[in-house]
């Protein structure tokens, strides 16, 4: 299969990050930032008190909504700084559909939802690129660490 066929036939459920830590809407910004840092997440899905998806909070929100604040914002709740009702992608949709949605909306992360509309993970640009690399090891894994180290002839040692 070529790249296009692969992205069209692979489901989001196969590559999304299921161990992503979700966040309660009442959680303080300090806790959320610490969690994103420790868990290496660029975004976190925010849940309301009933466990349903309320929004998403991303690194971009830190730049756009927090970095200009003065005073002590650290104890404020993430609910007031998240993007509410984010665009989502179903687990059963193709990676191509996720890519199209991300490109169209300028998103780097999309919450993934199951058949009941409940959040079940996050898919990111990095997940998609990682999948492409894994699928075409000859194109990527066998690359030398830097282009300057590429073999200049068929002979090597």
């Amino acid at each position: 299969m070529n790249l296009l066929e692969i992205l069209n036939t692979t489901q989001v459920s196969e590559i999304c990050r299921r161990d992503a830590v979700f966040t309660s809407e009442n959680m303080s910004l300090a806790s959320v930032l610490n969690g994103m840092d420790l868990n290496h997440q660029g975004a976190t899905v925010v849940l309301d008190t009933a466990g349903k998806m309320a929004g998403i909070f991303t690194e971009r929100d830190v730049l756009l909504r927090l970095s200009g604040l003065s005073g002590d914002w650290r104890d404020q709740s993430v609910r007031d700084f998240m993007t509410k009702d984010p665009v989502t992608i179903a687990e059963t949709h193709s990676v191509a559909a996720a890519l199209y949605t991300m490109e169209k909306g300028n998103f780097r992360h999309l919450p993934v939802v199951d058949e009941y509309g409940q959040p079940s993970g996050i898919i990111s640009i990095r997940s998609i690129l990682g999948y492409v690399v894994d699928y075409f090891p000859d194109e990527f894994i066998n690359l030398p660490p830097r282009p300057s180290l590429e073999a200049k002839s068929n002979w090597g040692g």
Binding site: L33, D37, R60, V87, H93, A97, H109, P111, I125, P147
Partner: protein
């Protein structure tokens, strides 16, 4: 896979680059990132790349500090000596670096190590998305579900 045999220069941002010098205050660097809709600023001394300051660096700092960002020089928070590529290098190298190193932004430098461009994970995925075409299954699959109401 011919789609990724292109050179980095065919996808990179080459004009109006987000760049600042190491003594620039973080608040000013953030203004560049906001205004140009990018996730990083390349830090350079007279166009020679010495570091990169990203949204991730900001998050890490703000997770533990509450200082005035207008009083801290970007050199204190930047990642020093970032990985770079040349404009004639293949896009596959950029993708590999992004996946293995976890980078979303790679400065592109010429033979004299001067900044000439920036390639981002978004540039790469936009390219992949273009390859899927306007009538791809990707577009058909989401059909009526598409809502332009924000997100991450």
């Amino acid at each position: 896979m011919e789609q990724i045999k292109q050179t980095v220069s065919s996808l990179m941002l080459s004009e109006n680059l987000p760049i600042c010098d190491p003594e620039t205050m973080v608040a000013s660097a953030l203004a560049i990132m906001r205004d140009r809709h990018v996730g990083c600023v390349v830090v350079a001394n007279e166009s020679m790349v010495v570091g990169i300051f990203t949204e991730r660096d900001l998050l890490r700092y703000m997770a533990t500090h509450n200082d005035n960002l207008a009083e801290i020089a970007v050199r204190n928070l930047m990642t020093r000596n970032p990985e770079t590529l040349g404009p004639k290098d293949c896009v596959s190298y950029a993708i590999n670096m992004m996946v293995i190193g976890g980078y979303r932004n790679i400065p592109i430098v010429d033979n004299d190590a001067a900044l000439v461009g920036l390639i981002t994970a978004r540039d790469v995925t936009e390219h992949l998305s273009e390859l899927l075409g306007g009538n791809s299954k990707g577009q058909q699959a989401i059909g009526n579900e598409w809502q332009d109401i924000g997100g991450g």
